[in-house]
């Protein structure tokens, strides 16, 4: 298939590993899914310390279940990426450890306090879910299949995040103030989750033309704001004055882009933001520490593969 044929055929779940796809498609899909997989992993590492810091047993159990889910999402997505035949899972994990693998802006920031947890678990998971729901229609079938399972699980993350937000915003005055502060800090980053407005985003056109994604940054951001601004207000959070968000009154919003720190965003996009670098290194150490496990499994796999050959031949 050449790229024109791909564009012609492009539709939900249209292409699978059986199809002979041009390199341009396979590379673009790999970049997109690898980014997504990396983000699941880095998000899990960011949230992991809060299993320990959770204020109650219920929260601890739910938080550990959530972190477990996110690592699982990473694994599903590395498989979906690997099936494009461009990079192996090991290569992608190594790239992440070496600081070459890219991931979501929000997961480059440090998270120090429990009041910050709903910023990720409610708002960022909510934003991610908005996007992931549309990716069930992606043209790369293994990606869309991964989204079926991811979306099945994510509803719990978002509602648990909401429960934490509710608890904090109905708690002591101090808790409410700290939560508002955390919200003000995180809100611009959450808006930037969707990337720059469409005319500034570089990869959109091709990905949309070949059906890898079905909605633009702006459409996704609008849908997110429509659903989550009322929720924030319901719990008594005040939406910061900046970035200015103009409600057009027809379910669309305009974010005044100049109010957002795009220098920081693009520094982060290059993995050059210091706290993010620390998080990349932190995960690298975890990866290095279990090198012996991978080695053991690899040599076991080789022995096992040798052992089944006669069986497969009969």
């Amino acid at each position: 298939m050449d790229i024109e044929q791909v564009k012609e055929r492009a539709g939900p779940r249209e292409f699978s590993p059986k199809d002979d796809l041009p390199e341009e498609y396979r590379k673009a899909a790999t970049r997109m899914i690898q980014f997504h997989a990396n983000s699941e992993i880095m998000g899990a590492y960011l949230e992991k310390p809060f299993i320990r810091q959770a204020p109650s047993l219920d929260r601890k159990l739910a938080f550990s279940a959530k972190v477990q889910d996110e690592i699982g999402h990473g694994q599903l997505l590395y498989r979906a990426a690997e099936s494009l035949g461009v990079k192996t899972r090991d290569e992608m994990l190594d790239e992440l450890a070496e600081g070459k693998g890219k991931f979501l802006n929000c997961f480059h920031y440090p998270m120090d306090s429990w009041v910050e947890t709903p910023m990720i678990a409610f708002f960022v998971d909510g934003a991610a879910m908005r996007r992931q729901a549309t990716l069930k229609q992606s043209s790369w079938e293994p990606y869309a299949h991964a989204m079926d399972k991811v979306c099945f699980e994510e509803g719990f993350h978002v509602k648990h995040g909401e429960a934490i937000l509710y608890e904090l915003m109905t708690g002591s005055k101090k808790e409410q103030e700290l939560t508002q502060e955390a919200f003000e800090e995180w809100w611009p980053r959450i808006i930037q989750f969707f990337g720059p407005t469409d005319d500034k985003s570089t990869h959109h056109d091709f990905s949309a033309d070949v059906g890898l994604k079905t909605m633009t940054n702006d459409e996704l951001r609008n849908a997110f704001l429509n659903a989550y601004v009322p929720k924030a207000e319901k719990y008594g959070l005040e939406i910061p004055d900046e970035p200015r968000i103009r409600d057009n009154g027809d379910s669309t919003y305009e974010v005044v882009e100049d109010d957002l720190d795009w220098d920081e965003f693009f520094t982060i996009a290059k993995n050059d933001y210091d706290p993010g670098k620390g998080q990349i290194d932190g995960r690298k150490q975890a990866q290095d520490a279990v090198e012996w496990v991978r080695e053991t499994l690899d040599s076991h796999e080789q022995r096992f593969a040798g052992g089944t050959q006669p069986q497969a031949a009969d």
């Binding site: 249209e14 739910a62 409610f122 994510e154 509803g155 719990f156 978002v158 509602k159 429960a163 849908a223």
Partner: protein, 104 residues
């Protein structure tokens, strides 16, 4: 030799197990699968897999989902109105899964 057969009804959907065939090799297994499983039911693709290559673990050996109350894992345990359509969809899938697992 027994081959397990998986049928996909439409492109983009999952291959799900639909039965097995007795055949001496893969080529004939595919042919028999086509005849027995692909003729009447809507079929886009079939897979055949040697039965002895399939690993299984069932409820006799495993406690799928664990042995303790894990209601904290389900969206429906948190009584808030879903923030968005996709959250509501996820919750109804979880409600259905809970019902199928036979939990109370």
């Amino acid at each position: 030799m027994i081959w397990e057969v998986f049928r996909q009804e439409q492109a983009g959907e999952y291959h799900t197990h639909c039965g097995n065939v007795h055949a001496p090799d893969r080529e004939m297994a595919l042919m028999f699968a086509e005849i027995q499983h692909g003729r009447r039911k809507p079929t886009n693709s079939l897979w055949v897999v040697p039965q002895k290559e399939i690993g299984e673990v069932d409820t006799e050996e495993a406690n799928f989902g664990g042995t303790t109350d894990k209601s904290y894992r389900w969206a429906q345990s948190y009584s808030f109105e879903a923030a968005a359509e996709e959250v509501a969809d996820s919750e109804s899938e979880q409600v259905q899964a809970e019902r199928q697992r036979g939990d109370d």
